[in-house]
Symmetry: C2
Subunit: 238 residues, 2 copies
């Protein structure tokens, strides 16, 4: 946690508050990561039990979001943080909102398993899985960057989202061709389309989290900033 | 602004801060409402110029989000609000995030105009427009409830989202049938599907904003709460 400097606070109680809330965010991140990984495995291996488990476990993600959000508001009210500390709390509040939505998307992905596609579409599932594994990796590196508040890692991840988008577009074209060739399987293909879309959105949400990291460390809002300008930020830190 | 009680603050400066930020949120809400309305009109009337304007105006929504967000952080740091005041600021921070995403969805809807569907699909566009007008109305009543921090209105709007979902599902079934009957028009129909999906998500985001209103007024997080439990909240205020 190089950039967190938790130890520098005069109030030991405040340090404890911060450490506790960051641990909870990590716990939530780990859970969301597992949900996404399980959702992908359930689709690829047609494991209905696992898909149902993903569905059933979503309430845990929701519960963590509500409790961390509450924790953050209480820290602001009690400790009246300013500058960097306040930015950290605001970054956490926004990050958990995105993590919660990533959990929702994982649930949608698991739906593909429950609406079984059959063997005919193994290649589609393979391509969906490829996209999924790339997104999962992005989520993992994002959570890792968050834990260390590593702004350079955040900027790097932010740039890789374009790759996810390209892979998503390619899959989407393939899915459309399939639907045109086999109109009867349109309802099934649509489920794959929703999953692919969910993955693309998870990529976007990882980008959001990277933006919060940059906001915390640099004190600069980079949402709606061009990738080129974000890159300049990185260069200025090296 | 029955529930805002801005006048009760001892610090006149704090009142001014709060009033100013709330005015900015209303301004942002008005802009987002106009973007959605213009997007729907552009689709229904195949008005490409209007669609391009929706696209071009999105930066204004983004700019407002960044500046209001910054304003909120500065108010927290300077005025150290507690209890209700802090809840209000947190509700605003979350609301503007949802408003900004509604702006993004409006932009996606305007895309349908730019990928012209032609006269053959007038009935589909009519149904999309019906769904759109219902969602626009929901956005308007949501912004109105936010302005007055009217918890009962928020609870009522929260319940109507199920209607939007039903209308969306019906449209989606119709679109799938179309694709199966006319595989050649799949790419065009897909654009309508993305728009319908965008509308459904705007409905969800209005629900989120209603939840922030309830959170501010009742001090209770109602995300992930069943509609029945939310209704009980309303009954207890009457």
């Amino acid at each position: 946690m190089d950039n967190l400097n938790i130890g520098r606070h005069i109030s030991g109680q405040f340090n404890e508050d911060l450490e506790r809330v960051i641990n909870h965010v990590m716990q939530m991140g780990g859970l969301v990561e597992k949900q996404l990984s399980d959702a992908l495995t359930s689709v690829y291996e047609s494991d209905e039990e696992l898909a149902k488990r993903v569905h059933a476990n979503d309430y845990q993600v929701n519960k963590l979001e509500v409790s961390i959000d509450d924790e953050c508001t209480r820290i602001i009210a009690k400790r009246q943080p300013a500058a960097g500390d306040l930015r950290l709390i605001m970054a956490i509040v926004k990050t958990i909102a995105d993590l919660e939505r990533i959990g929702d998307e994982a649930e949608k992905i698991a739906e593909v398993t429950l609406q079984s596609l059959g063997k005919d579409h193994k290649d589609l599932l393979q391509n969906l899985d490829n996209l999924g594994r790339r997104v999962l990796e992005t989520l993992q590196t994002t959570l890792d960057a968050f834990t260390r508040m590593d702004v350079n890692a955040a900027i790097k991840i932010h740039r890789t989202d374009a790759k996810i988008d390209r892979e998503y577009e390619a899959l989407m074209r393939q899915l459309m061709t399939y639907m045109m060739e086999e109109p009867r399987s349109i309802p099934q293909i649509m489920t794959v389309i929703w999953s692919a879309r969910a993955l693309e959105r998870i990529g976007d949400r990882c980008q959001n989290i990277c933006e919060y990291i940059i906001y915390f460390v640099k004190g600069k809002v980079v949402r709606h900033t061009s990738p080129e300008d974000i890159k300049k930020l990185k260069d200025s830190t090296e």
